[in-house]
Symmetry: C2
Subunit: 665 residues, 2 copies
Amino acid sequence: MDRKKSVNPDLIKEREKCTFNTLELTHLLDGSATKTEERHSREKFFLEDPELQSNVPLEYLSHKEKYEDAVRKACIIFRKVQELQNQGKGGMDNFREILGGQLGSAILKDGNPLTLHYVMFIPTLMGQGTFDQQAEWIQRAWNCDIIGTYAQTELGHGTFIRGLETTATYDPATEEFVLHSPTLTSYKWWPGGLGHSANYAVVVAQLYTKGTCHGIHPFIVQLRDEETHEPLPGIKIGEIGCKLGMNSTNNGYLGFDNVRIPRINMLMKNSQVLPDGTYVKSPSSKLTYGTMIFVRVVIVQDAAHYLRKAVTIATRYSAVRHQSQIKPDAPEPQIIDFVTQQYKLFPHIATYFAFQYSASWLWDIYNNVTNELESGQLESLPELHAIACCLKAVSSADAAQGVEICRLACGGHGYMTSSNLPSTYGLVTAMCTYEGENTVLLLQTSRFLIKSWQNRNKLDKLATVAYLGRKMSKSNPFEKSVEWIIHALQQTAASKIELANNRINARVRNGKSYEDAWNETSIELVAAAEAHCRCFIVTTFYNTVNGLNVSKELKTVLVQLLNLYGVYTALRLTGDLFRFTNITGQDVETLQDWLEELLALIRPNAVGIVDSFDIRDEVLGSTLGAYDGNVYERLYEEASKSPLNSEPVNKSFKSYLKPFMKSNL
Amino acid sequence: MDRKKSVNPDLIKEREKCTFNTLELTHLLDGSATKTEERHSREKFFLEDPELQSNVPLEYLSHKEKYEDAVRKACIIFRKVQELQNQGKGGMDNFREILGGQLGSAILKDGNPLTLHYVMFIPTLMGQGTFDQQAEWIQRAWNCDIIGTYAQTELGHGTFIRGLETTATYDPATEEFVLHSPTLTSYKWWPGGLGHSANYAVVVAQLYTKGTCHGIHPFIVQLRDEETHEPLPGIKIGEIGCKLGMNSTNNGYLGFDNVRIPRINMLMKNSQVLPDGTYVKSPSSKLTYGTMIFVRVVIVQDAAHYLRKAVTIATRYSAVRHQSQIKPDAPEPQIIDFVTQQYKLFPHIATYFAFQYSASWLWDIYNNVTNELESGQLESLPELHAIACCLKAVSSADAAQGVEICRLACGGHGYMTSSNLPSTYGLVTAMCTYEGENTVLLLQTSRFLIKSWQNRNKLDKLATVAYLGRKMSKSNPFEKSVEWIIHALQQTAASKIELANNRINARVRNGKSYEDAWNETSIELVAAAEAHCRCFIVTTFYNTVNGLNVSKELKTVLVQLLNLYGVYTALRLTGDLFRFTNITGQDVETLQDWLEELLALIRPNAVGIVDSFDIRDEVLGSTLGAYDGNVYERLYEEASKSPLNSEPVNKSFKSYLKPFMKSNL
């Protein structure tokens, strides 16, 4: 059988059933036909490079071999990125996609050890360096004469960055900072590429000058000799070891034993230390918010992308896999015909769209606010921060759970590394923790919500919380519509915020400090922020779909997905709906019916929809999800690549097993 | 600092706060003080054997090296098991614990390639072989002259075993069966140890004789030459490749090209094929249910054990880790003082107890029913099957989710392999799929529930569904008590079963076949089975705690945990409670208050409770969870074992990085 040429007949049938033009949806999701073409050519440029192929799948290699192969590929990728730059096809957006996004994870499945150079090191130099510093460093970094990383998190300190312990003490006598790690917990821990790859880093440390601590500031520190790559004196450095995923990102640790750097290595665009040690404060502490928010915008987008990858794999597999019986004596059906299977897959197809549209909204707003910031307007920042925090938390958590549901929906084969679902999970679940732990972020959102609630009569300008200012009523009659669901979610979110606020106040009245009352109410505060976020996501999905100018056929499908996402969300929150709206048990049955109707409506287009995500086989990287659906052939072929299978008898038979078995004769 | 001697001061303080005798709880959980001692001596015997230590943590090795090291250790473990047997300390229970349970996974973290020999191969010979067959095979297997596995699942066929494709066709001319794999999808796929370890297997195949197929039957098949270990002619064999976890279990594939085995290699205790090819049917098809149910009993127990391991790690870490602020200018608190963190941990401590008590109940009932079976009574089997199915599904799914919540509660460090949380997840999530996929199992339970509902007036003998026969009423007044919660859960489960039954009937009235109506209602059927199961778990927890004869101090703690599990369960199901009981919004607030009260009550004993699980550091295998709480020292020490850290400059610098960086000069 020539696998390359024949497509699984089940998939052919599925594709024939499709009621809309998948290409139209592809172009819609990319932005335009031109953008689809650009993406195709970028994918071709990277994925068809013979130097970037591997004979033995990475998972069979030792940890060290994985790293070495990753450095080899990372250098090739960087060279290709430079080629693109020279052709004028550069730009940070593309870089991120190539280095960390879907395309990047297709080439280096377990992470790129050099990514932070472009994604954190250079942007930090650009954002926080003075003009002089930029002139000195950016050209060298851009040419990759030096490779940098960003060292902030410490062994004992993560999300709460004010607690960092590394010190940078200014010595006016030599005009140097002395970097020092006073404790084991102050060792830098986690930065990608720090272990053995980078030779420079931006190091975040507590600045001391004239005996006073001025909080955390960024410093450029050389870590390794540029010629020999040996760690410089006073630098204790290495990698932190194996992880659930991202095992070739070379996450490292870093300790300082009184390492001296010149004064001008402090990034001084905002705050400064003058030669005599005088500290000059930054005009606004909010200016550094920008990067943090940017990374969270990116995470929402990535969460959407990982989820659509998983759901593509699981949907195609479910169309190909036959198992069990619906009717006795009938042949085993495609498992996608089991309603329980549809329930595992289709809501996650819909969730991808929901997250995608929230990500796009967030990206646009981020750009607006960034422009405002540059002209000195800061008032939109708290709202943007609040919505970015909860969207990052909810999208990463839901996407992680969705990827796992997709994996489990593929049964045993989903557990195979070659399905690519385990490593997709490894990447997506990491997002729940990095760049702000999810619970901490939700509590930041709820702080904004409580404040907004207290000022709910003055919320005109704030789009995301405007509903708090509207008169609430439980009496809105139930309707089988997304409009009703949105209203119900607003009612829920507003009521939860109000209740949490009341609970805090009640605790304060009972003698607790506001801080303790806040902590004791924090489960409810997290729930309120989540409700607010889910309400926002459904609303944004609704507004986006209603604003689209597409064919009737595609519109029908998108409305089905919107409805599915709405009803799926509502049914997960019936406890809240009973509490805060006038829904009845009968209405819940109506919603359940509607859910089942929608699953049946989406069923014939399921493969068509995931096809229109247009994810190249190399990006999917999955034996179960490839376009041609030749699942079993691919599983067998992948197994044959295991080095254990290259010889019929492994040496452990002779060394251990045979002596043991024969010892009992 | 001498790590071995000093215990983290936070943990010392936590242990001083404990209000009950942890040893009393340890003995209670083990069964008695004597059983605790026996466990200690078994652990010592295995875990302190110098031959079973590794210098380099396994995760750094290549896939092949991992396998080779696993075979080495598996042979040592088997030899020690034989020693125990010779001392009269054998018994299948201990074997399972050593080969597959907590102790087993402490020695071979990523699985034992020989486990199925004791856990499946020998028991199948014993259960399904005739007296003659047992005489011929069991001695050789028991002595490990041969090593066997159990080959049932195929590339295209899992949970639905009637769909297996491998054929065993009887040839009366030679009195042989011809084993054949007619398609790629008929290849055996997944059996542990099949790849390169076992030389025999019990193979499950469709039996054909005299032109008729008689369904699946078990056959003993030699796979490899006993001297050379070379695969025998017609045997295509190898390993299936890397997986999310269990990478040293050597899961294999197996294809047959007309392989002949003697007639007497069919296991004929139940059905037989006579020399002329006449098929003699088994007297009862229910006799083979036993093993299936046994394995599910074991899974419920394992789910409980994995969860308590994860929650021990996360609770100790949360007592040691300081982060963020509750009050401004106060030092960073232990993260266990954040109520959101308590909410992540304590319900899972309670869930461990809930699952443990359900597992014990199930184990007792299993033994009763097995005795009944042997005396020919079959009537309890369907109920046992139904409750085992849903308990397996709910406990594995909840434990997997609980382990992940514990991992995420440890922040970035939970993502480290050295936390042992990722690989614990890998083991526990696998249980959602193997031995019956969870959704399929829940639907089997709901089939029993629907039948029970239809016969609800004759349920006196069936303890687990007796509540279906009682008169239901929505008017039971709300109380802050577990009794009320149990009543509410019964009400919920019964109502869901009734509603699902009505939905099926309505669909049938609308012209659907019963099978299609069943499928269309399956989301609700799964929900009904889940509700039934959760109701059972809370009830069993309640009955057990009420029946315990323990000190007042311990009883107080166990009742708190019971209450917490009850209220946690109720609050996750408020939508159902509103629908099916007369709960109000005010009552939900009361439950939420109760939850928060219970978290505060459990807080001072949290470390004490997990201490009393008495899990040896080697079994925890975690940098974050060790008894002494020296988290950061252990993380650093583990990182230093990475082979990448054994040299300051990795060779990839010279090969790839330097040429790339210098090329731009």
